[in-house]
Symmetry: C2
């Protein structure tokens, strides 16, 4: 918890920092309310909006009464799926460098050689990230491919036999079992071993890159669960893809390699210690995410764009450059391995390496532009609808599906449903085509005449990725239109149910599949209307429909365009793709937000948007800051520090010069000198960096002490301080950040926002005119102000903070 907590809290204050409400108001010398009153010197005061109960009842924790204690106001119960809450359970990452004496000492000692070495190490790590991400992706790819082959081959044989023997219940049962077993494994892993591995992982990575600490998201355990989980999902026949999880995997690989240690395996290799800080780690993770995209789609450029579009706040050329390198290495490594797997070793340009298949160049004309726009619009509408359906299902889940075993049951139910729907469609729909008309690895004859096979089975008897491929590349008329209509409806609902299950599964491929199916329908309809027009090729419209549907669901723009171009090797369709994606985003944004943002908002992660909410210049820092603020003196009593850390859950403390006697009557705050973090204090206490004289220790002190604890510091309960030691003093000055960014109480919300967003801050002390700390702003304080704009209207929301999410 950071220093924004008291926004909904009961506060009890000890003597040294006590003040009355009046004092506080005087102290603020608050900003002018409006122009006229300002000129007339009639200064009206603005209070913090959420300042409640700050001279309220005593806390129950009696030992803390000497200090402060904050117990949460039990706010009203939150409706499942409520979007107007921020969770208090998410911490911010800390991207601001603490330029204390230890860092300067290190710089002085190591010099430029160290800079060069660090730089070389960085490139090397990005190389490793690229390679390992590719290896993992290949493993997942090949496992899925082999297992699916096995599965569909035996199913096909069984069906072929049973058609004549009239025992179709047998393949149905077999199918059920073959879906249930992997789904059972996958869902148990996710539900019981590592719940954060559920879903695609993209929302989590997005939050992480935005600066929010999502617990356990980049651990190796998560990676393992994710890998096995996603294989189970796809092999289990669920309407999920492997793309999102691969991106997540890349991010974990990056975080793991760059830190040179693993918490899961309790192993520290002792290398890359200088990268053990949030800032460096974030850069690596953004490279890993890009590698993941590159692995998932064979799209190195799209990967870089993804990590820029979804993550970066401050674009750095050198980082982009290294990210690009890692993505490139990933594609390269995968091409080597997969070309060998496909039997064309060394042939990097083997067309089988293109994920969604190589596209023929079907010409398009000027007069098709309106059609492209209509497809985009349709994608926006259907995407928004999909998001809405998924949101409603998620609300249902929040309300009723709470325990782990129900989650597993739910996953099994969806697995049964998937198999059943598929089987019923194959059984009831007669859509017989010859093998020239559609491509399929395991053609099923069903009740078709000889030489013809069921086109419906082609849609269900493959991994979703292969189905997308078929819809993109099969010639005109490979399915009947009715088949496609029913398939779109069923798969639309199935996919909406699947995303959010306790399984590792992404939504890229299902969205593409839905879109490709209805896109093909549109194309087929057009070519029926104008049968002589060669231009209305269903394949082209399948591609555009897929893009439109995916764009309508995720609302990414430039990165998605490039990913699709790279995945289909089809720069030829760049222009139509751009048009379709633009329309889909515009139309979709009219109704609701992208699916990732919806899920992020439902979990209440305090994510910061790109820009401050408009028209918020009349909100001042003094209104959004949390106060009173808990400060430490430059030389502080050890006992006081220990008690304080036990009683409050803040993560950062302003360090102040104690107020001198003549200032005391004005206010009880000290002059701002620096900022120290809870984690730093704990390390100092653990290493007993204090005594009566505080002098003996400067030789063996160095910054490694802090780095070796990163990122999981002990809690204060693990620190042992004897009663004697509690009388000692600790000099905080060499360790604190001596000049963190601060703003005055009269700064506006957009100003504070820009500082936070651009520089990735965690704590921003608010000072008054004479540089005394009067409050603290953290991420949640500004993430609370959120603009909503739907259906052409807009307004400003003030979210509530709750620990119930």
């Amino acid at each position: 918890m950071e220093q924004d907590e008291p926004t909904v809290s009961n506060v009890t204050i000890n003597d040294s920092v006590d003040f009355s409400s009046d004092d506080f108001d005087k102290l603020l010398k608050p900003p002018r309310n409006n122009f006229h009153s300002y000129l007339n010197e009639d200064v009206s005061v603005r209070f913090p909006r959420t300042r409640t109960n700050h001279n309220a009842t005593l806390s129950s924790a009696s030992e803390c009464t000497n200090h402060m204690s904050f117990t949460r106001l039990s706010s009203e119960a939150i409706l499942p799926g409520a979007m107007n809450y921020l969770s208090a359970n998410y911490e911010s990452l800390d991207y601001d460098t603490c330029e204390n004496q230890l860092l300067l000492d290190e710089e002085r000692k190591k010099g430029y050689k160290f800079v060069v070495k660090k730089n070389v190490a960085r490139w090397f790590i990005f190389l490793l990230i690229g390679i390992f991400t590719a290896l993992i992706a290949c493993f997942v790819d090949i496992s899925i491919s082999e297992a699916s082959k096995l599965k569909y081959n035996s199913l096909k044989k069984c069906i072929d036999q049973c058609i004549s023997q009239n025992c179709l219940w047998l393949p149905y049962l077999l199918w059920l079992v073959m879906n249930l077993v992997p789904v059972l494994i996958g869902s148990i892993l996710v539900a019981y071993v590592e719940p954060v591995a559920a879903g695609s992982g993209i929302p989590q990575i997005k939050c992480y890159l935005n600066g929010v600490k999502v617990p356990r998201v980049v651990r190796i355990k998560t990676l393992v669960v994710k890998m096995i989980g996603v294989i189970c999902t796809v092999v289990g026949g669920l309407a999920g893809g492997k793309e999102g999880p691969m991106i997540h995997s890349g991010a974990v690989v990056a975080a793991g390699i760059s830190q040179g240690k693993s918490t899961t395996f309790k192993k520290d290799f002792g290398i890359f210690k200088y990268f053990r800080e949030d800032h460096e780690k974030r850069d690596f993770v953004s490279g890993g995410a890009a590698s993941g995209v590159s692995a998932a789609f064979g799209a190195p450029i799209g990967g870089v764009l993804f990590s820029i579009e979804e993550g970066t706040s401050f674009f750095k050329q050198s980082l982009t450059w290294r990210t690009f390198f890692a993505s490139m290495i990933t594609t390269f490594t995968m091409n080597i391995i997969l070309s060998a797997y496909h039997g064309h070793p060394g042939e990097l340009s083997y067309p089988g390496l293109i994920n969604l298949g190589k596209f023929d160049e079907i010409p398009y004309q000027f007069y098709e532009i309106p059609l492209f726009m209509i497809i985009g619009t349709l994608g926006g509408v259907l995407g928004a609808l999909w998001n809405h359906v998924n949101y409603k299902i998620s609300c249902f889940r929040l309300r009723f599906i709470k325990t782990n075993w129900i989650k597993v049951l739910e996953a099994l139910f969806i697995a049964v449903l998937s198999a059943t729907l598929g089987f019923l469609m194959i059984y009831f729909i007669d859509d017989c085509k010859s093998t020239e008309e559609f491509s399929m690895d395991f053609p099923i004859q069903m009740y078709c005449e000889d030489g013809k096979y069921s086109a419906v089975a082609a849609l269900w008897f493959q991994t979703p990725e292969s189905s997308v491929n078929s819809l993109f590349h099969d010639s005109k008329g490979s399915q009947n239109d009715e088949t496609l209509v029913i398939f779109v409806i069923l798969y639309f609902l199935l996919a909406a149910c699947t995303f959010g299950l306790s399984m590792s599964s992404g939504l890229f491929i299902p969205s593409l599949l839905i879109g490709a199916a209805w896109g093909r329908l549109v194309g087929s309809g057009l070519s029926k209307l104008w049968p002589n027009c060669e231009i209305f090729d269903p394949r082209k419209y399948a591609l555009l429909g897929a893009a439109a549907q995916l764009g309508g669901v995720v609302r990414m723009t430039i990165s998605l365009t490039v990913i699709l171009i790279e995945a289909t090797d089809g720069i030829f369709f760049g222009l139509p793709l751009i048009i379709v994606l633009l329309m889909a985003k515009w139309v979709g944004d009219f109704f609701n937000e992208g699916i990732y943002d919806i899920h992020i908002q439902m979990t209440g992660v305090p994510i910061l948007p790109w820009e401050p909410p408009p028209l918020s210049n009349n909100i001042y820092a003094s209104e959004i800051m949390s106060h009173p603020v808990v400060t430490l003196k430059t030389v502080e009593n050890v006992g006081h520090i220990v008690e304080l850390l036990k009683c409050v859950s803040f993560n950062g403390f302003p360090v102040v010069d104690p107020p001198t006697s003549d200032q005391e009557e004005i206010n009880s705050y000290g002059r701002f000198r620096g900022l120290i973090l809870r984690s730093q204090l704990i390390v100092l206490l653990q290493n007993k960096i204090y005594n009566e004289y505080s002098e003996y220790w400067d030789e063996f002190l160095n910054i490694e002490m802090f780095r070796s604890e990163y990122p999981r510091y002990s809690t204060i309960d693990h620190v042992n301080v004897t009663a004697d030691e509690k009388t000692y003093n600790m000099d905080l000055r060499p360790f604190m950040n001596p000049s963190p960014y601060t703003v005055q109480h009269s700064a506006t919300l957009p100003r504070v926002f820009r500082l936070f967003r651009a520089l990735g801050l965690r704590h921003l002390p608010i000072v008054n005119d004479t540089n005394e700390v009067i409050g603290m702003v953290t991420r949640k304080d500004i993430a609370r102000f959120r603009i909503w704009r739907h259906q052409g209207r807009m307004g400003l929301d003030e979210l509530l903070i709750s620990d119930k999410l």
Copy 2:
């Protein structure tokens, strides 16, 4: 000039801000020098490094003695081409919003409807930018194409005739005249009408997007000169391309449209007034630059990446999104117009629209990777060499080619040289091929047997862009190797001489041409070594060589990859292209910087790199700030303001509470209250916003008053203030920026740098522990610290500031 000027100045200080050196040192309470001394309370003081002469001789400008005057130290003469100077003549743009009462009033009045309206207007402007950029590009394109046809057609006829009549001097003379006339027009336009239109314009746009005001760079006059100039360059047969100028044109179009007024035509349409600030204008310009790339190469995605890679400091999704839209509209409009021009109206997918021609998919193998890397290395070396040659030529130009008429003469000389070299090559080299072997619009037989034509003429008798096309797509053996060797050498030198002439010309196409030629040589060499290997296709190697050479010269990475992919419609070659460009940048960076950076450094533009220099945490804000600082009181005497503005050239003034009597003994500075700009003060004086009571004016006051003057404010000399009025007071509080970012004197250089870079600041007041202003940091103060890293070593440079550049 901003408040960094006194770094090299004689300073005379009046009573009210006078202080002795000792006072100042005391005041600083400076940061700890190192750990040990800090703990021993032995505080050693750090002075600003460049603080010279600050209580030195009186200025000669007698009327200013009551205030301050700064006359520059005449520093030693600068060697032509010196890279260690910053020019004092460049101003910073101001991206920080001034959140004063007027802005709040406007927000209050207009509400969310205004936000929506502004948003719609933004999209509309980006649409217009896209369309107009495309129109300009089409005009340039078609003009060049028609004029070149005319030129080479008549030349061809003349040669064909003269071969038999033995009068080859005639076509040579004709060629000379046809080169000289357009070059004369182009160079006179640039030299006499608008010198800023010289070159490619990319360095200028890069500086602009970085936050430096490059005078006249986005004016309509510049656009016209650039357009005509670039047509003259290409038609005049110089080794220059039209791509850079098109990017510049896009930027001008954007700046022009978004402001709804033109200074060149003295016309104010009265629309889009709310976009009249540096921040908004910059966003549009970045969109315009992207449109320009899109127009130049048919690369909408590459355009967006270009504007991100070269310009943006803080990436915003919404801006990227709109930029993408504009680029897309540009490609789209161009496709419509050009497909009609080529006789395929409406056929948007007509392959003739791809700028560098559609690429066949020539397979590549694993074992070619080392070859790709060698090509990249070669490109890096040759690119760095090219940059070095161009740098040396530029130094020569700075030293000897100073007056306009010599510049024109130089351009004419290069024009003669181009024609002569071309003619000599055609005359002396016998390289006869049949028309099946190479493509050419105007085949010249020269001394070849019937049915064969001179392959040398094919290289010279086309625009450079068409020659690139030929080298990319002609089949094996379209030229002899000797032809290519001589061509590479000659064109390499010609291009190096041409870039930097007083002509509008880019270097993309010449670099591509050089690279394509030597790439083809490599390919041809390889296929001679292994004649049975189909894989060593010269076309493939021509593409990679072109990429390598261009990458080695400009050192762009991801944007260049995408641009080349889009321009050749060849995502197939994505992987090799990436490898080549990575290597070229690495190797090139080992020797020197990219050509744009070299030229930027030669002009001394205070551009900020992406990241702060490493190991600079031991440099404190108090050392880099300029001081003493000139402050204004919250309510200030009008006469004082006028005198001050006349005497100092600063652009921003901290506004302070006047020191109260008991503080005065400690220091003579006031407490910081806000920041006001010179431009604001001048507008206030012009509108006479003052009187004895300063009350009457609040009704008609609004922010439009300031906007209508943007961006070219009057100087103080145009302000008339009567002697009476000089006794009046002006209340600055409603107009100043009440809470600009400030940092403490103990903040480190990287901290100040990050704030500047990420937020696009212009002025950063430095305050002491009690929030009193003790100095001011501007862009030049931090741009002075520049890291150099060549040949594996690195270090920190402190550039000097001079007005001689």
